[in-house]
């Protein structure tokens, strides 16, 4: 078989894949970054390895999608499109692969159809292989993405999300594959998406065999995670039973919850007489040699929970969510309660909520519910907006069974049946007026946005605007290596910083002294390309002190709410202001929508009244006790 390269037609690719008895590899760099480094591996690092990875001869490089699009703009300050463009320049032959959450795209809740199609169309200019899934395995949720990918002439790779439990039988999955084929036709790759790294090698082998039995021509791509340290076993079983593509990652960055090391996969399967087609082992090793030097800069993003975690078979958290979950546990101060949350509550919640697939956004719902159940003391006492939507079937029908009535009652009160009847079912999301959004974006930026900027904006409006403004102010910072961009605690006096900017111009910056101004601000002196410059920085301690004082207790916040002074109950971002000043509101009305930990929570008034003052706007970050809305309570 010839090496499969970017630009080949789908038929050619499939013909090649069907003709081999061996297998090919997808380098799952994005999933590795997401699972083990909170998605923070910088483009700079990916560019360093681009040549070696190109030479290594992968079927594809999974380098975008999942949460990475959001993290690109939110944390890494890199344009997700520019990233692909720059990598493409250095990697002309390797196909790029993405992970798309169906109707939820690269976000956490459903997008309008026209936004989905627009987004897929723009990304399809760079992305060759589209892995598409839905956490409910609900095919209609993926259909528009399927159509757009096929329309763009790109390779479609629909997923069956995999999990374990009495309902998760071969029969169920084979039937699901049939349903997918009805929609897509035969010219696809099929992904077994084992995001948790669940099941034993035998279980995966059986599943692959069952699918191949029914659909012998099917090209199966097995995707797994090494959370329990045993994914190579599952990969081996998958290949031996007829899978053609597997996921693995560069070994210098592995070690936790992402895919297993490429080289180990290659070596293991070699013994079974299976060759990784097209792979240049030296280039695989070379890539890791480059990455090894970079890894120390990313230490902060590594899991706080060290070592493999075979208990994933109990709690089923997906590899891609492990890092962020532990991070929340550390920031929320409940890392010590993790065993209880992971081994008792999460499996219980999972069963209670229908034993669907623990993957975004469903995994976040399970996780937040479990955390809230443990931390609040009352199970389902504080249902998030997203949990309610799940119960109402807004994400799709429960695949196996509906949660028990008492959970509905907890969520919606005694009249829950009425609520379910009136509001239940998948909501038709109206198309967005994209032209109007373009105008809004232009207004917010002060210049005409590109179509790519618009797409990024439509995914995460506020974060996108912040990012574009960042770029305007700070330039294209992807040129900075992690040793600079992720530097903590400042540089040393006299330190020399070298980098090449996006125009290919080399620069040299020497760190000069810091000096306090009369007004308390700090002058930072830098010698930039042999010319001294001074940057005035605001003093920061004072602001931090003031914020600390303002923090209020839960009780205080609840008390104030009864007199119409609604405060933020937790640290969050304001994602929607529902009411206007002067508006009449009834008890139970939503006033503000807050978003924290990717989940939305409404701020609801308990009393009727008139909105007197709104203290926040969309995009504001609020801390517990910050003023949101002031109501004049009706007598």
């Amino acid at each position: 078989m010839d090496r499969i390269v970017q630009g080949m037609s789908i038929n050619e690719v499939l013909k090649n894949l069907r003709s081999i008895d061996d297998y090919v590899i997808c380098n799952t760099a994005r999933d590795l970054s997401q699972s083990d480094f909170k998605n923070r591996i910088l483009l700079h690092t990916d560019l360093l390895t681009a040549e070696a990875r190109e030479k290594a001869g992968y079927f594809s490089l999974e380098i975008t999608g999942g949460a990475s699009v959001h993290v690109d703009i939110l944390r890494k300050q890199v344009d997700p499109f520019l990233k692909l463009e720059l990598l493409r320049q250095k990697m002309p032959n390797t196909m790029f692969q993405t992970l798309c959450r169906g109707v939820n795209l690269f976000g956490y809740r459903p997008y309008p159809q026209n936004v989905i199609r627009f987004t897929v169309k723009e990304f399809a200019k760079y992305v060759d292989v589209w892995r598409v899934f839905d956490f409910m395995n609900h095919i209609p949720n993926m259909q528009s993405v399927f159509e757009e990918v096929q329309l763009a002439g790109k390779i479609l790779e629909p997923c069956i999300c995999f999990s374990t439990g009495p309902e998760h039988t071969d029969d169920y999955y084979v039937k699901k594959v049939g349903e997918i084929l009805e929609v897509t036709g035969d010219e696809i790759l099929l992904c077994i998406k084992n995001h948790g790294g669940l099941g034993t090698p035998k279980r995966i082998g059986d599943l692959v065999a069952a699918i191949k039995d029914k659909y012998p021509d099917m090209v199966i791509h097995y995707h797994g995670h090494n959370t329990d340290g045993n994914d190579i076993g599952r990969i081996t079983a998958a290949i031996l039973n007829g899978a053609t593509i597997v996921d693995a990652a560069d070994h210098a960055f592995t070690g936790y919850f992402g895919p297993p090391p490429l080289l180990s996969v290659i070596q293991t399967l070699e013994e079974y007489g299976k060759t990784a087609v097209g792979i240049d082992v030296d280039a695989v090793i070379e890539t890791s040699e480059i990455l090894r030097d970079e890894r120390p800069h990313y230490e902060l993003f590594e899991s706080q929970f060290k070592g493999f975690l075979p208990t994933v078979q109990i709690h089923k958290l997906p590899g891609g969510a492990m890092g962020s979950s532990f991070e929340q546990a550390v920031k929320g101060g409940f890392l010590d309660r993790m065993p209880e949350i992971l081994h008792d509550e999460l499996p219980r919640v999972q069963k209670e909520l229908g034993n669907y697939w623990s993957v975004t956004p469903g995994s976040q719902i399970l996780w937040t519910t479990a955390v809230s159940n443990v931390m609040e003391g009352e199970r389902y006492g504080n249902c998030s907006g997203d949990l309610k939507n799940l119960l109402l079937g807004k994400y799709g029908p429960f695949p196996f069974y509906q949660p028990a009535d008492w959970i509905y009652e907890k969520a919606f009160g005694p009249d829950w049946r009425k609520t379910l009847e009136e509001e239940g079912g998948i909501e038709e999301i109206e198309d967005m007026d994209i032209d109007k959004e373009r105008e809004t974006l232009e207004e917010r930026l002060g210049y005409k946005p590109t179509e790519q900027q618009l797409v990024t904006y439509l995914q995460h409006p506020n974060d996108a605007v912040d990012f574009f403004k960042f770029e305007e102010k700070f330039g294209r910072s992807y040129v900075l290596p992690p040793s600079i961009f992720l530097k903590r605690g400042g540089f040393t006096l006299g330190e020399t910083i070298e980098f090449t900017d996006c125009n290919g111009k080399e620069h040299l910056i020497q760190v000069g002294p810091k000096q306090k101004n009369e007004d308390g601000n700090i002058n930072v002196y830098l010698n930039v390309d042999h010319f001294q410059r001074v940057y005035v920085m605001e003093a920061e301690q004072a602001a931090a002190g003031a914020a600390k004082q303002a923090e209020m207790s839960k009780e205080e916040i609840a008390d104030l709410a009864t007199i119409g002074d609604l405060r933020a109950p937790f640290s969050a971002n304001v994602c929607e202001v529902v009411v206007e000043s002067g508006q009449k509101v009834e008890a139970g009305d939503r006033l503000i929508m807050l978003e924290a930990m990717k989940m939305q929570t409404p701020v609801v008034t308990e009393a009727a009244g008139v909105v007197e003052k709104i203290s926040v706007k969309v995009g504001d970050a609020v801390k517990p006790g910050d003023k949101l809305v002031k109501l004049v309570i009706a007598e």
Binding site: G475, L480, K487, R488, G489, V524, L526, V528
Partner: protein
């Protein structure tokens, strides 16, 4: 013989004059006020005298300057422009103290500085003039004279302070009502500013071009001109951009203007360097405006196209030399444009940016580029003086070449700290009308889009700012 010459000025022009003095092998003496302690002209001069804390008052104080000159046994004083340059009392004080004043005589300065006398001299010499009055009578009689003049020559008219200059004491009047209001105000303002409440009227030439002629005269009866300059691009009567020669495509007209300028200079019994200013209306009528009895800010453009060092010539003439060239020796070649790079924010009504420190100063160079400035990296611009940082003068064989060179130079300029007029000028050089050489004094009013720009910060400076932030913050939020 080595002479000692005091430069009674500051900023770029002080430096310009000191260079000429030193090139001639004479000794340059600088004076300065305390706010100018860090100024470059002090460093470059051979001797420097602190004349007081100022600000401005000591540079303007005749006694102080004369005293400094005498203490230092100075032979001559060059007044530059502004400050005491056109003050006849200062020229007279020099004359009385046996110091050579590098410029015309005090009498000529007095006559030409008084607009009414000047008009009288020019009228008698047959120089074309904008219709106007002599000094208006005091009180209501003066107002009636003004109303009568307006009735005869039609609005708009200009109310002007008889003693004045630099664009001050001038008011545009469009109708009778406005005239009644402005008349007493103008008088009061003239009195306050120049200690002379006399005002007069002139018919306003609508949207004229401002064209001036550089002249040089020795004491031996030779007067030559160095061609024209167009200074039409102004804001509030203050020049921003000057070019030489004028781009009016009518050589005959320009020749007539130059000849008239020489005639006017002779009529005034003029000596040394001067500038005869004219307004040209859209029907190619030209009118005498005034004679400036000093070296002009924009003298550089005439130097570039003639090859004649005006300041050097000024000194030599003052020291009694003959003009070393005749009119036929003066050949104009190519084009020159000068832009005044000011520490001002054009988008905020040219608000001065004094008090700010020039943290980066990188200037362009190369063929056809001339810089007359006095700032350096680390220099804090005094708040108490004018905002001119540096004059960028470029020379080119053709107009287009000159404009291209100017654009390149503006792009090469890096000045951080104060806002400057550079981004505004970059818009200006890209404006089609400017590129065609088509502008009059209404240019800025009719080209408001020139003010629409965003300052383009270089990529490395943006990234350096990010690095400064990462360096400064206790927590790197990008690594959190």
């Amino acid at each position: 013989m080595k002479k000692k010459i005091l430069v009674a000025n500051r900023g770029e022009i002080a430096l310009r004059i000191i260079r000429a003095i030193q090139e001639l092998g004479h000794i340059a003496v600088a004076i300065y006020e305390t706010p100018d302690s860090a100024a470059l002209h002090i460093r470059v001069a051979d001797e420097a005298v602190l004349i007081g804390d100022g600000p401005r008052s000591d540079y303007l104080n005749i006694d102080t300057v004369i005293k400094a000159a005498k203490n230092h046994d100075v032979d001559a004083i060059h007044p530059g422009y502004g400050f005491l340059a056109e003050n006849p009392d200062f020229a007279r004080a020099c004359e009385e103290n046996g110091i050579i004043f590098i410029g015309p005589s005090s009498e000529v300065i007095h006559n030409l500085g008084n607009k009414v006398i000047a008009r009288q001299i020019m009228k008698e010499a047959g120089i074309p003039m904008v219709p106007g009055t002599s000094n208006l009578s005091l009180g209501d009689a003066g107002l009636q004279e003004a109303l009568d003049f307006a009735a005869e020559y039609k609005y708009p008219i200009m109310l002007k302070a008889t003693t004045g200059g630099g664009g001050r004491g001038i008011r545009l009047v469009e109708n009778d009502e406005q005239l009644k209001i402005e008349y007493p105000v103008a008088r009061a303002e003239a009195k306050a500013a120049f200690n002379d409440e006399n005002v007069y009227l002139e018919k306003v030439v609508v949207k004229p071009k401002h064209v001036e002629v550089q002249v040089m005269a020795d004491r031996f009866g030779t007067t030559v001109h160095l061609g024209t300059r167009d200074c039409s691009i102004q804001r509030r009567n203050q020049k921003l951009v000057e070019i030489a020669p004028s781009m009016i495509p009518d050589q005959n007209l320009l020749d007539r203007i130059c000849d008239t300028a020489v005639k006017a200079t002779r009529a005034a019994n003029y000596f040394n360097a001067g500038t005869v200013e004219f307004l040209i209306d859209h029907d190619k009528n030209f009118y005498f405006m005034e004679i400036n009895t000093r070296v002009q800010v924009e003298h550089t453009v005439s130097e570039m196209v003639t090859g004649i060092d005006i300041v050097r010539t000024q000194i030599k003439l003052a020291l009694g030399k003959k003009l070393a060239f005749a009119q036929e020796d003066v050949q104009l070649r190519g084009h020159a444009i000068e832009m005044r790079i000011n520490a001002e924010d054009p988008q905020n009504d040219f608000m001065p940016e004094g008090g700010k420190t020039v943290s980066v100063y990188r200037s362009p160079g190369g063929y056809g580029v001339r810089l007359d400035g006095f700032v350096y990296q680390g220099f804090t611009i005094p708040e108490v003086y004018d905002s001119l940082l540096v004059k960028l003068t470029v020379f080119g064989f053709s107009w287009h070449e000159t404009v291209d060179r100017l654009r390149r130079c503006l792009k090469n300029y890096v000045i951080t700290g104060p806002k400057t007029t550079i981004p505004f000028y970059l818009n200006l050089v890209n404006d089609p009308d400017f590129q065609k050489g088509d502008f009059d004094t209404s240019y800025l009013e009719t080209h408001q889009h020139l003010f629409d720009y965003t300052v383009d910060v270089s990529e490395v400076n943006k990234l350096a700012r990010l690095i400064a932030e990462i360096h400064h913050k206790k927590e790197n939020k990008y690594a959190a």
